[in-house]
């Protein structure tokens, strides 16, 4: 987007001979966290390359587990990279990045400070004179339309107005780079739409108080509406799958055919993790096989509910489905992933179809469904098979919780492992494959009668 016509007032004049270094450059960056058993490292991000230039809006789009927010925190210097290098205008970034401001998902306002004090907090930290602090903060509040509420406390404001304070607090710093971490996702649909438009307008007007924006989002429409480039991240570990340029003229109209076409293209990428992105897509590498034990956080009940909604013969397009269900992609994808894992449905080119097993399941009665789900679980979820063998090998027909949790802990961080363990328990319980007691922390076989255990 070097051809951008906007000339932000404080951007340095580029030297004539060579292009200026990018605002921020991430080179072969990896972020590792230790796995739950502490023996190994789990990569959240790996071999990540990304450049942010002056004057552009970049959207980071990825499913949960792609480490989008981690990228943002690396850029801010809130986290340090485990490997690779991050450069700020050609200089290695060490410690906190003083050129950035963040707008947080949860607003992160201090409830005991007034709107004005919240806005001014970053200027105060610099030890500026009180009069100047106040003037600049009031100007920032005016930009977001809150100058009348300067003396109010955040609790007196609606969610949308609170996030406006979050923006004002960032604007007042006049950061080179404004980072936004899902800034609209804690707001209701209407408010989010409104605020999104306002930010877009401010940017289009040309005197935006930051040179560039990076926005993390899981909403495809939001990415298309705001960005000049959409960076698609793969999950587990997160790396750049590809970059989709967004040349749509501003202001953007979300009903325009070009807009819809771009949205649909991105839907295709998001729902098919193996599909190469863009014309200059990297060759599909053999890559690491998807981790064998991964369990998407969706209940079996939700999967069955979704199956009911898919037309048996033709399937349904995912964009249509998401629209119909009023579900965020973030909520829909785990259910689909789980359905695919159990071989009940398959996704091809953003189109969802039932498999033969899926159709059998729909036709079956309650007992038949459970029977089928048990079979699918044993066949397609490695952890279920392993547990089955362990139970058969045990004298008392019991297996401790820790055995299963440790197995997950070999490949995932503690938090991930615990989440997957909970999913696993809910799956085996709801189809009656095994019994599990939370008090004794033990798995037991059901003795074949499929009797379910309540409680917990």
């Amino acid at each position: 987007m070097a051809t951008d016509t906007r000339a932000p007032s404080h951007s340095p004049a580029p030297p004539a001979d060579r292009p200026p270094p990018p605002l921020l450059r991430l080179q072969q960056v990896a972020k590792l966290f230790s796995s739950a058993d502490g023996h190994s490292q789990v990569a959240v991000l790996d071999e990540l390359d990304l450049e942010i230039h002056s004057g552009e809006v970049v959207a980071l789009l990825g499913r949960s587990g792609s480490g989008k927010s981690t990228v943002l925190r690396l850029m801010a210097g809130l986290l340090g990279a485990s490997e690779g290098q991050i450069e700020r205008e050609g200089q290695p970034l060490r410690g906190l990045n003083r050129d950035v401001a963040i707008v947080f998902q949860s607003f992160a306002l201090l409830p005991w400070l007034t709107v004005l004090q919240n806005t001014a907090v970053g200027l105060e930290a610099r030890g500026l004179p009180e009069r100047e602090v106040r003037q600049r903060a009031m100007r920032a509040l005016a930009m977001v339309g809150l100058e009348g509420s300067a003396e109010a406390y955040p609790r007196e404001l609606s969610g949308g107005m609170r996030q406006r304070v979050g923006f004002a607090r960032a604007f007042v710093m006049e950061p080179a780079l404004l980072l936004m971490d899902e800034p609209f996702s804690a707001l209701d649909v209407l408010t989010a739409e409104n605020l999104r438009r306002d930010i877009d307008e401010l940017w289009a007007r040309g005197n935006f108080p930051a040179r560039s924006i990076v926005i993390v989002t899981h909403s495809i429409e939001e990415a298309v509406l705001l960005s000049d480039r959409v960076v698609l991240l793969s999950a587990n570990p997160g790396r750049v799958r590809g970059i989709v340029p967004n040349p749509l003229p501003r202001p953007r109209d979300d009903t325009h055919p070009d807009f819809r076409a771009l949205v649909n293209e991105l839907y295709g990428y998001m729902t098919d993790p193996d599909r190469p992105v863009g014309p200059a897509a990297p060759p599909p590498e053999a890559g690491p096989a998807p981790l064998s034990l991964a369990l998407p956080p969706a209940s079996l009940g939700r999967i069955c509910d979704l199956l009911e909604l898919v037309p048996e013969q033709d399937g349904i397009s995912l964009a249509e489905l998401a629209d119909e269900l009023v579900l965020e992609l973030d909520e829909l994808l785990p259910i689909i992933d789980a359905g695919e894992l159990l071989a009940l449905m398959e996704v091809d080119d953003a189109h969802l179809r039932l498999t033969a097993e899926g159709q059998t399941l729909l036709a079956a009665d309650e007992d038949g469904r459970q029977e089928l789900l048990r079979r699918q679980l044993l066949a397609h979820v490695p952890l279920a098979g392993e547990l089955q063998r362990a139970l058969e090998a045990s004298d008392r027909g019991e297996v401790d919780r820790d055995v299963v949790l440790d197995r997950l802990g070999e490949e995932y961080t503690r938090i991930e492992a615990e989440a997957m363990f909970d999913t696993f328990v809910s799956w085996v319980r709801s189809c009656g494959l095994f019994r599990y007691s939370r008090e004794q922390e033990r798995f037991r076989s059901t003795g074949g009668d499929g009797e379910k255990e309540g409680g917990g």
Partner: protein
Amino acid sequence: MKSTVLVPAGAPEGRLTLRSLAVDLSLLLAGLFLVVLIANLGSQMAVSFHPSARQAGLDLAPIHLPYYAARSLLRMFIGLAISLLIGVSVGSLTARSAVAERLLLPVVDVLQSVPVLGFLAVIVPFFLGLFPGNALGLEAASIFAIVTGQVWNLIFCYHQSLATIPGELLEAAGVYGFSGWQRFTRLELPSSAIPLVWNGMVSFAGGWFFATQSEAISVDNASYILPGLGSYVASAIALQRMDSVLWALLTMLVLIVLTDQLFWRPIVAWSERFRFDSGTAAQPAGSWLLELLQQSRALAWLGGRLERMSAPLRRRLNRWTAAGRQERLRGRRREAPRWLDALVLVLGGLLLVPALAHSLRQLGSLEILRVVGCALLTLGRVAAVVGASTWLFLPLAVTIGLRPKLASLLQPLMLMLASIPANLLFPFFTVVFLLSGTPLTLGCVLLMAMGAQWYVLFNTTAGASAIPNDLREMALVFHLRGRQRWRRFLMPALFSSWVTGAVTASGAAWNASIVAELVTWGHHRLSTPGLGSYIAEATASGDKPRLLLGLVVMSLLVVGFNRMLWRPLHRLAERRYGH
């Protein structure tokens, strides 16, 4: 963008009226009175004093009671201020450094289980030596006793509040370059304000017991008296003056109501602004005094003036403590090495074991049997206190707690009852025991319960009133009755709050045993074998080896029960019976 105008929540901008003038004038007078009073009381603290000279008892004329009460109260407030200061400094140290956390928190945990009263024997001579020939030494010892009664609690409270600051707020503080001063005054202190205030209030109530008890003590066969409510009662007991005891009790009640209305209520109401979750305060606490203060034009003017005057100072503080460029977020701190645990144990052992061995060599090993026997007796009494107060108060708590109106009426009353230091009530019971010939072996259970029972009642009442409304309606609709209602509905619902109450109650009962197993009325002296009387006698006669042995055994018992019984119960309560 649209702009929305809200009513500013700033300073009052009322006009000058007769009423506002009256408010300002009365506040001014009250302020002047307070300053003069404190100056006067403070100068009284440093009078000369000779331990050798025989001290007369206090003048028991009721007219002197306000003065004695004020002396006690001043000690309480100094103690509270010191406790807060220590709590905040040690709490932020442990929250910042993993090493400090590993080293200090276990020590604090043990120290909070150690019976404070037993320490007076060690403290008093030390502080007397610090201020020779001056009563300040005694004052310091008394304040020290108050501090040791509440400081541990506040350390944990502050540490815990810092640990639960939302992650995105910490990140915001990093990204927006908060200076150290801003971090402290804008993030850390406000985040912990509400827990600190509530903890301080409860600790303050508990502190009266130590304040009154430490004003008149016998150490090393010498008795020391500091003017105050506790020493007034002690003198009344020595002279068998029941009327004076009653006067003291009345003064105590007035004092409790006054501190509640003039100090805690306004602070609690004011601290509401530091709540994280917006707008969902159960019942916004009101305070007439706070409203009055907020109406005052003079105070608003003074506040604005101070704020403007201090602006350059704050700016300088921000510069001095500016966040370094290299500063990383203190999100995930590095783990402290595990061997620090062992270090704490070894150091503790190195301190204790030789001293214990020395004591045992002096006393003979059979003394251990005696101590353990005493400990078992007191343990039985503590169990009886917790059991009996549960059995008596659980039905009462349910009756009150399930009726919101009754609860809101009685809960403040219960907190006040809980604030009455039990030792002020002892003389009445002692006289009854003497007249009826009740053996203290049983009677002292009642005495210990006087201080401890309220925690059970108070916590379970709060638990009962916190039962969600739909659960209550369910119990009614499905006709849960009698045993089934208790087993399936009330007991699980109240379990968590009962555990909290019972832990506190048993701690209070252990502490109370030191004063409850040995009581006097004039020349009558009632005593019963137990760990409490063992420690009390060793204190009075300056028997250091026995004192050490008794203290160590009691601390071990309290710590042991906390670890083996209460903590697992607490975890169970959280896991299974959390709402």
